[in-house]
Amino acid sequence: MTALRLATIARTAAGAATGCVLLLTAACTTATGTAKPFAGQTVEVAGSWTASEQANFERVLREFGKQTGARVRYTPGGSDLDVLLSSRIGGGKPPDIAMIPQPGVLARYAATGAAKPITGQAAQAVRAHFSPQWQRLGSVDGRLYGVYFKAANKSIIWYRTEAFTAAGVQPPRTLDELTVVSQTLVDSGTAAMTVPGADGWPLTDWFENVYLQLAGADRYDMLAAHQLPWTDPTVVETLRAMGRYWASPRFLQGSWNGALQTTFTRSVADVFGPKPGSAMLYEADFVTTEIDKLGLYRVGGGARYFAWPSVDGTGEAVVAGGDAAVAFTDRPATMALIAYLATPEAAAIMATRGGFLSVNQDLDTAVYPDATTRALAETLLHAPTLRYDLSDMTPRTFGGGNGASMWRILQSYLAAPQTDPAVVAARLEDAATKAYGVL
């Protein structure tokens, strides 16, 4: 398989019927070996994607259906995917595959036996196309359970170039520079940063990025596994840095009260909409879709990003997220679809349409629609230090969903950023002890 060939096919017609010829995976050989091996069978996939992401993903599923004869049905769960899943599993009728964003949730389903290990040709496909780290992230106790079909780069800050030009500043590379740049932006008459505090997860992402920079990857791993208490000085220091930034006058658009009322979609409009209120937005790569939807600033032109600033301006440590395809039945059709989702061909179908990053090592990055997306994807593949979203690795009650304690505690910290960070850390430790205890 040449990368060029693949790219051309992906670009011209993502669903080219000859796609399978290009595939090296064994699963696909079975698919072509006996024509349409799963004709008449139905495979159900549940995921959180809706709207255009859903449409793009359904293209991938249709292509699988075309090759194997299986009928693939997508059930969108939206932000309530977990509700859908737990009730379906409880009722004994789980979907064949679910796209799960949280390793913590995956681990729970693996422990209860609801999730089925990926074996055979599907496992080979994953080993062939994914780095050991991403394989490990999809594994529980050494057994492979998930394929990270989609990934997200959460270590970037978006900014409006015209605001930076008006203030005469350059993207900061260190945390100290970030403060200086923010102050200069404020002096130029705009708020520096928009924080969507009405949703809890952007705050946990703030914490994770600062923590990874300040405390390093080893401590990050220990904290994720709760081998390190949340009262550790590194956590307190991270919280202090966040609080100091939040409490600085005019750094946050609408101050902290306003930030707590700002939802994710609104935050994008607050920076890249018709009446921009601030210059920077901390959000992951998926903001591009929203910026495009607003249609006022072009990603890569009026809307650009810089990597999350580090302590000393060296090295790039990336916090990543993703959606793993996890099997809940072990029928051959299910495993074949898992194998297909592990192929670069499947990833290319979504990648060409934008708003999608893949960590499939064999996907030619030329398929991405623009330079910004390509650069974001390459950072994920080549970052010297990469860590998965910490809150997603913790038990759901602590970090993984609406009303999770870490979300709430950080929100109340944002509501009163002058709070002693040690108090916040103690609250986090309390909640963590409880959540890990239940597990």
């Binding site: 005469g168 009405a198 809890g200 306003g258 038990p395 759901r396 009650t397 609406n402 929100q411």
Partner: protein, 430 residues
């Protein structure tokens, strides 16, 4: 009923049993079994496997978030049924007095046709914090600004380490100033669009020469090549800034800056002056209220709930009003009672049974309020706005035992209202 039981034949009682069987079966399957199951689960652990005794109940009565939810439920129960009934009663009585009363009633009843979820989405917009988007804040800000217009230079602050220090919301010179050289008062943090159109290049030439106290207030920010604290080409003066000059604590002169930001007070000579830019120059614009913030979220939710349910109360009260004999009201009026007295002394007492039904139905309903909180309160305010039903739902995904305990708690809380209704029903049958 009781004495007829003795005369029943076996055939008749078995026939009764047959007729009752379907209803009993339905009640058992749909009501009693789930209640029993919930009770059983509430005494077991998170996964519903091991018995833990009353641990879940101990947990829910000590957890701070549940205490918060219970407190909110208490507020809901005290406020909502009474307020809804009062509003419904008032609307029903007043609607009788207007022409086209049916149309009025239809409009008032219409919110009942809207689901709580859609009402939640709609009111999310009404309560939006930004006056550009939220209707309520647009009104509040509009009214406020009519009486107290925002100042021109809100958000400005003194250039760090330069001539000015903040004091009482305004800014004043750090060092005493003299008439020998112009006083430079650099400000930053002003957006270009915030400056008035009349603003011109900050003036220096006019004030370098001359006698008396003089100076310039200007926006000391340039994207490229600006020197902090010095007037550069391209930096605009701030016109219309109120300047006060103090000497030993008392104001000796007041003036206003010109289009180039300069001010000049020839009559003031000598030294030891303090120049102050009063707080009024920098008053922040009123941004409206954070309706869905932690402090106002429960009242905001209650407001929406009343909007929805007032129509229900009105409909029932209207039906009750129709049953009041006209003569009684006429008699009261002839005896010289005012409308308010008629309402209080005649209508309400006669309507007591109806009002009780409305109150109790609402109490039971309010106890279960859940969807409105989930949809309307932003994630960040769901902690402060939480109610027991919401906590039950949240717990249900990870801790079925605790969730069941909360379910039982809700049942127990609702029971008095339900029992009273049943009791009343039986009394009225007799």
């Amino acid at each position: 009923m009781a004495q007829t039981g003795r005369t029943w034949t076996a055939a008749r009682s078995s026939a009764a049993a047959w007729f009752l069987a379907p209803a009993v079966l339905l009640v058992a399957v749909l009501v009693l079994v789930p209640i029993g199951q919930t009770l059983w689960l509430s005494l077991h652990d998170a996964a519903g496997r091991d018995a833990v005794g009353a641990a879940n109940y101990a947990d829910i009565f000590t957890a701070p978030e549940i205490r918060r939810a219970l407190l909110n439920n208490a507020i809901w129960i005290v406020v909502v049924p009474n307020l809804v009934t009062a509003v419904g009663l008032l609307a029903a009585v007043l609607a009788q007095r207007v022409r086209r009363s049916t149309a009025v009633r239809v409009v008032l009843f219409m919110p009942m046709a809207i689901s709580l979820v859609s009402a939640g989405v709609t009111f999310r917009l009404v309560y939006d914090e930004s006056p550009d988007r939220g209707v309520l804040n647009a009104v509040v800000v509009g009214v406020h600004d009519t009486f107290k217009p925002p100042s021109q230079y809100h958000g400005a602050r003194a250039r760090d380490g330069q001539a000015l220090t903040p004091r009482d919301g305004g800014l004043q010179t750090t060092q005493p100033v003299t008439d020998r050289e112009p006083v430079l008062l650099p400000l930053v943090g002003l957006a270009p669009r915030q400056l008035p159109k009349s603003a011109t290049q900050a003036g220096t030439s006019g004030i370098v020469q001359g006698t008396g106290l003089r100076g310039v207030v200007w926006s000391d920010f340039l994207a490229v090549g600006g020197r902090p604290g010095a007037v550069d080409t391209g930096e605009l003066g701030l016109p219309g800034v109120d300047v006060e000059v103090l000497r030993s604590g008392t104001v000796v002169a007041r003036t206003r800056t010109a289009a180039d930001g300069t001010f000049h007070l020839p009559q003031l000579t000598g030294q030891d002056y303090v120049v102050r830019l009063a707080a009024g120059n920098f008053t922040e614009p009123f941004a409206g209220l954070t309706w869905l913030g932690p402090s106002l979220v429960t009242p905001a939710l209650i407001g929406t709930y009343i909007w929805i349910w007032a129509g229900f109360a009105m409909a029932l009260v209207t039906a009750g009003l129709a049953a009041i004999p006209k003569e009684t009201l006429e008699a009261a009026r002839i005896d010289g009672a005012g409308e308010w007295q008629v309402l209080r002394a005649v209508t309400v007492p006669l309507m007591r049974p109806v009002l009780m039904v409305v109150l109790l139905t609402l109490t039971v309903n309010v106890l279960k309020v859940f969807d409105l909180v989930l949809v309307l309160a932003p994630e960040s305010a769901q902690g402060p706005a939480s109610v027991v039903a919401l906590e039950m739902w949240r717990s249900s995904f990870d801790n079925i035992g605790r969730s069941s305990a909360l379910g039982i708690l809700l049942l127990v809380l609702a029971l008095p209202g339900v029992l009273y209704n049943v009791h009343r029903l039986r009394r009225s049958e007799r």
